[in-house]
């Protein structure tokens, strides 16, 4: 089924699986920090605050239950990044995985994972055969006494239990002074970009000791710093085009053919501020936390604190669509500033055919916006709804004084339960939603 987001707009979502510890006592290292499907959707990678990457693989669809898509089971787990210490600055470098990006598929799977300072290219390969019949070694590895060797034989491969190995193939280090927030693989499959708060670097996947700096917004005088880069991404089809978003709510599209240093943008996307909603928090809530191109490359989506905006790349003056994620929080901005929730960086994602977009919210709610049918739904990722194939019930937050049954009031929302990371299968209606330390997988209800 080609990811029809809302064919009849009556897509119902069912619980499929949940990964992670059940108990409420969350170990800090288990906090999920990124979620990403690979290009076929067969593999789902998660990174956590402890520097580990866990990859799940989808089981092939069984003939017994054709209505149920395969489950995701652990395929590989490895420690990608270790905590480090910057001796020069006397600062720790967190091992938290900020982003994972898969490379387009080859014989083996490659992914890029990054923490604040270092990007690593990992090769995940399977081994299901092993050589047997060495002449000089016993089966257990001990060397044979040469006197006992009387004949020669050719070692042959025999099947063995599947073993998945992850090996670091490249380490791209020492290129970023500030914290890396994004990585993006180019459509040419040879280069990728990495963006920190003030600079964007262009790498060749083969070369680790050099990178080109293509964007630098660091002012000569740090006192004048008022804007930082918050996210960056390559265009899915045009290998010369990329965008980066800023903390002031602007998105700049750059063409690498124009010059080596892309400080001058080709296009700048910015929506004029609404004077009615002006407050001291206007700038903070306009800060863009994520930017994603559509699969077609025609549109891009940005997420700021309260809304999701869809931009047509041909129109810079304003977005073509704006969806309010949790407008009821607008009156609570001061409290959210107080407890730092206003700085939460929510991500967003497209479905396979760009008809539906999804993003997270608080209280373990996440929202989907159907662009075709102009409908939206709020769903919750919680253990209470975790019966297999149970349909998720839409949730509603009551804003007015009167609270209907099954609605939840704004003041009862749990701001510690936030869904920052979500991912949508590139082809099917399968979504992965990360709560603090659990990964929920939901599937479309198939009849």
């Amino acid at each position: 089924m080609a990811g029809a987001g809302g064919g009849t707009s009556d897509v119902q979502w069912c619980f499929s699986q949940v990964k992670g510890a059940i108990d409420d006592d969350v170990a800090e290292a288990d906090i999920i920090s990124t979620v990403e499907f690979n290009h076929s959707g067969e593999l789902l990678a998660t990174g956590d605050k402890g520097g580990r990457v866990v990859i799940f693989q989808q089981e092939p669809e069984s003939k017994n239950q054709p209505q149920c898509r395969g489950e995701y089971n652990v395929y590989s787990t490895f420690q990608s990044h270790e905590p480090e210490f910057d001796y020069l600055k006397s600062l720790e470098i967190e091992e938290k995985i900020n982003k994972i990006r898969w490379l387009p598929q080859n014989a083996a799977q490659f992914l890029l994972s990054t923490n604040d300072k270092t990007i690593k290219l990992w090769k995940i390969s399977e081994r299901d055969k092993r050589p047997e019949g060495y002449n000089l070694k016993e089966e257990d590895g001990r060397y044979r006494d040469l006197n006992t060797v009387t004949t020669l034989r050719v070692p042959i491969f025999r099947p063995m239990d599947l073993m998945v190995e992850a090996s670091p193939r490249r380490v791209f280090a020492n290129a970023h002074t500030y914290h890396i927030n994004s990585i993006s693989v180019n459509s040419d499959c040879e280069t990728y970009l990495s963006a920190d708060d003030l600079r964007i670097n262009l790498w060749n996947l083969e070369i680790t000791d050099r990178s080109f700096n293509i964007v630098d917004i660091k002012p000569a005088n740090m006192e004048e710093l008022t804007e930082v880069i918050t996210a960056a991404e390559f265009h899915p089809n045009q290998c010369n085009t990329f965008v980066y978003s800023s903390s002031k709510g602007t998105i700049r599209l750059c063409d690498m053919r124009a010059s080596a240093l892309c400080d001058k943008h080709a296009k700048q996307f910015e929506e004029p501020e609404d004077p009615n909603n002006r407050s001291f928090f206007s700038e903070i809530i306009s800060s863009i936390s994520d930017v994603k191109f559509s699969h077609s490359g025609r549109y891009m989506m940005t997420r700021d604190y309260l809304s999701v905006k869809i931009w047509d790349l041909n129109m810079e003056s304003r977005p073509v669509e704006t969806y309010q994620v949790h407008e009821y929080l607008r009156s609570k901005l001061c409290s959210l500033y107080e407890n730092d929730c206003i700085f939460d960086k929510f991500e967003c994602c497209w479905n396979g055919n760009d008809s539906v977009v999804m993003t997270g919210s608080y209280n373990n709610f996440f929202r989907m916006f159907d662009r075709v049918y102009r409908q939206d739904v709020t769903l919750e990722a919680s253990r209470e709804n975790s019966k297999p194939r149970s349909v998720l019930k839409p949730r509603k937050v009551s804003t007015g004084g009167k609270r209907k049954k099954d609605e939840i009031s704004v003041d009862s929302l749990d701001f510690n339960k936030k869904i920052l990371h979500t991912a949508w299968h590139p082809l099917d209606n399968i979504i992965a939603v990360a709560t603090t330390n659990n990964l929920y997988i939901f599937q479309e209800k198939l009849n």
């Binding site: 500030y178 930082v228 909603n277 407050s279 928090f281």
Partner: protein, 385 residues
Amino acid sequence: MISSEPDLRFPCRRSYDRDGNKITQTRGVLLQTGLKWAETVLNKSCLSLIQKYLKLCSRDRLHCYCLCLSTGKRDNMFPKGTKRKFSDSGEEPAVSGDEPAPAAAPSAAVRALTSAYSLQRQSLLDMSLIKLQLCHMLVEPNLCRSVLIANTVRQIQEEMTQDGTWQIMTQALAAAQCPTDRLVATEVLCRQTDAAAQAGQSPKPFSVVGLEEGYHAEEVVMEGDVETEVTMSTLSPVSPQLSSASYLAGTFGMGPCWEEDEDDDGECEEDEEEDSEECVSEGEEGDRDHLSADSRTGEQVFGTFEIKHPAPPPDPALEELFSDVDPSYYDLDTVLTGMQSAPKMGPYDLLESLSSHGPTALSSSSSCRSDLNELDHIMEIIVGS
């Protein structure tokens, strides 16, 4: 005898003011009074310990109840984000709703200062400045967050400058005659105006009175959760008769004393050189010309991110005064070394382990512990007096 001894293990402690009324004091208040005393007697060792104490207090979990006007109505803050005009600000009662409206304000500007909007704006400014200062000790602070907070501060400053309230506030601060707070917040404010600095120290009656009242009648609304009560030191005076200037002074514990600016910066350099890189808003590296009229918020915030400026040449008199103190001893790294077994302790945990008198107390350095005991003892004396 001391009627009720402050127990620093518990953040919230009942004690009594001069009229015998029960008041609730937080660790913040105790620390603030301790800070004042320590500066008065120029007890540098004690002072730096208190500074570390304050720094370790709740960081990202900053609960600005103590920053908010000491009421319960924090939800009223910026309900719609709309800016109120000054014309109707005079009629507004104080946000607290419990305290009486200002009886007689000398001028329209002062009346405006006490309006709900400006008080709200003031507390937002305080909150932002505190946020800029509290930072990870071990991990580099989040640049995006710092930039956004700094921009908010700048925005408020601009608005206050347009209103004319900024001038009044800094003048009142100058007149406050209190020892300089090492917290960069006041340094940031100090550097805005040179006029106030040179204007002299003519005390304004309302601000002095306000300060006194502020320190004795403070009541802070705290949540029941003990954990959250360990907060920053700043508290706002209850009385709305204060201008926002003295409010600010009360909030930060003390206003700047202009002639001591240099000295304090020097002191700051000495004992905080090690962690100046971590701390977002250490201001010493920045432009030392605090007479510049330009807003220099960004400088304090971002100076540390790039180049570590060399320390300013130390004042010889100051050097002599503190020659017996070894600043490296109070280096945060030294203090924390004993706790490296749990490197990911949050700031609250660190604070608790420092302050605990139990077996989990700081074990690495016994002299540090004895200093803490000394600190507790000092606190008891202060509060008792």
